[in-house]
């Protein structure tokens, strides 16, 4: 009885197939919805701001949910199917690392499509909040911001999900920790969103028109603290017993 040749990256490929394809399809639906809504609103009032910017609040929650899902559903599923926590976590992180740039790209593409629609309709693509970018046409910066946002949200979701899976009671304390981390990263990337936090971050030299490098460093710093923290939670993760 010899095992067939091992398929080393099977877990990552399974997730990529489902998650990348799934989130791509979801994005199409999302984009259609946002643009249809914008055009709908235009029937009643003048469009003065970017609808995509408003809509882009939503996908970060989706990415956080994906993090929760990977940690609480797929990690145990793969452990139950004969993979170690290390193997599963590594491959799930890899699939996340491939899905997030893709999603960031699609979100950036959204601004470009909006640009085309707004130009044709003669609407101003006005931003309401502070970003790493001043204009939605600064695509590399737009892409960088989404990339960092999704990374932080995804890792935060995985961290909170894993903590609650592992400790259904005490794990709830991971929620404020995750939120604090998100607050810090969001402030670093978009200080206007959390005025009170902006005050805290401001002194250590965060943006408000400030340096992209510092913002990036803060966001990456958050992710690189949360990622090992998540690993600490899952490295010994006991599978939950089932109620029979």
């Amino acid at each position: 009885m010899s095992a067939p040749a091992p398929d080393t990256w099977i877990l990552a490929r399974l997730r990529l197939r489902d998650d990348a394809l799934g989130s791509g399809l979801l994005w199409v639906g999302f984009a259609v919805f946002v643009f249809a809504l914008t055009i709908g609103v235009a029937q009643f009032r003048t469009i003065e701001v970017s609808g995509w910017e408003v809509g882009s609040q939503l996908p970060r929650w989706f990415v956080a949910g994906m993090g929760v899902y990977l940690a609480t559903v797929y990690l145990p599923l793969y452990i139950a199917h004969g993979y170690t926590r290390r193997e599963s976590a590594r491959q799930l992180a890899l699939s996340g690392a491939a899905t997030i740039p893709l999603l960031a790209g699609l979100m950036t593409l959204g601004y470009a499509i909006e640009r085309a629609i707004y130009t044709a309709a003669g609407w101003p693509q006005q931003l309401q909040q502070a970003h790493l970018f001043d204009q939605p046409t600064q695509y590399p910066l737009v892409y960088l911001e989404f990339l960092l946002l999704f990374t932080v949200w995804g890792v935060a979701g995985a961290f909170v999900g894993a903590a609650i899976y592992r400790h259904p009671g005490n794990g709830l304390f991971a929620i404020p920790i995750g939120l604090a981390m998100l607050g810090l990263a969001e402030t670093a990337l978009s200080p206007g969103a959390f005025e009170f936090l902006a005050g805290l971050v401001g002194p250590i030299g965060a943006p408000a028109g400030g340096s992209v490098v510092v913002s990036t460093a803060i966001a990456l710093g958050c992710a690189s603290v949360a990622l090992p923290a998540t690993w600490l939670v899952i490295r010994d993760l006991p599978m939950r017993n089932q109620e029979q």
């Binding site: 095992a3 139950a80 004969g82 193997e87 017993n241």
Partner: protein, 306 residues
């Protein structure tokens, strides 16, 4: 590649509760083993540690001499099915039987697709059935299919087949035996319903309140119990000093269930005293051994079989 499991001082705790308490036992490769214990005796916790579903809080589990926890080579060779198999846990409405089978086919290195197809048919599972809508019997059947078709060198079923109805259970026993003789491997069945499956086991391991009560050949165990019936005094005289698991008295007649082999001398003495000696079914032995009212704290070595 034998699939020999060694449990060394295995301990599992939940907070202050000790679910598995320093269990040391060996399960030889290529055999069908029974793990018996009452509900809540620690069977599931023990199996979780065996299959590396959780890190032992003390001691370790070795598969062919290698620690199993976080060992890719070891966990790939093991398949623990709890209930309907862990695929069913998230129950998304879109998840169907065929998805559970496909996933196992991709992830289990020894998966036998043809065998899975046959079993699905035998247990009358619908591939398009939603996992969230399976009945208890169907969930059990899915667990059995996932376990048997995994062809994992160490296949562990934690009461998965208990939800099956009688004809399906017999189908399961038949499939298990046929499969085991065609593809010998280590099979461990955990159960608290003994009567029906006892004949399938080569060895029996009984745990009670997290402790190993005894382990040994199922047939040896069958020879170890006896019911001694007759005049109260004569019975008491004969069973004095033996491990009496249960004692019933009706008028002047007393019946003692003893654990341990009767010596030839005792048998002769019993005959002469007009005492009746009867064998005791495995299930009764199990019931008596794990009865909190009579079970005393016995050192493991005393109760265990060679």
């Amino acid at each position: 590649m034998t699939g020999r499991l060694e449990l060394q001082d295995l301990t599992v705790r939940y907070g202050d509760t000790v679910a598995v308490d320093r269990v040391t036992a060996t399960l030889e490769g290529g055999r069908i083993h029974g793990l018996l214990g009452r509900n809540g005796s620690g069977k599931t916790s023990l199996l979780s540690a065996v299959a590396a579903f959780r890190r032992p809080d003390g001691g370790q589990v070795l598969l062919d001499g290698e620690p199993v926890f976080e060992n890719p080579a070891a966990v790939r060779r093991m398949c623990l099915i709890r209930g309907a198999g862990d695929t069913v846990v998230h129950d998304w409405p879109g998840d169907r039987v065929r998805h559970a089978l496909d996933l196992a086919a991709r992830l289990r290195p020894h998966w036998d697709r043809d065998h899975a197809d046959r079993l699905v048919e035998r247990f009358a599972l619908r591939r398009t059935a939603r996992l969230s809508e399976l009945s208890r019997g169907q969930r059990s059947a899915l667990g059995v299919v996932l376990g048997l078709a995994s062809r994992a060198p160490v296949t562990i079923l934690d009461e998965s087949y208990i939800g099956l109805d009688a004809p399906s259970r017999y189908a399961f026993y038949d499939e298990l035996l046929a499969d085991h003789s065609a593809h010998p491997r280590t099979i461990l069945l955990a159960t608290h319903l003994i009567e029906e499956v006892a004949a399938l086991f080569e060895t029996v391991t009984i745990i009670d309140r997290g402790r190993l009560l005894l382990q040994g050949s199922a047939d040896d165990l069958r020879a170890r119990g006896a019911a001694v019936t007759g005049p109260a005094e004569a019975v008491a005289d004969l069973t004095d000093g033996m491990r009496v698991l249960a004692s019933k008295q009706l008028g002047p007649t007393r019946s003692d269930t003893v654990f341990g082999e009767l010596t030839t001398e005792q048998i002769t003495r019993a005959r002469r005293a007009g005492l009746q000696l009867d064998p005791v079914p495995l299930q009764d032995l199990f019931v008596h051994l794990t009865d909190p009212a009579t079970a005393t704290e016995q050192p493991v070595s005393e109760g265990s079989l060679r």
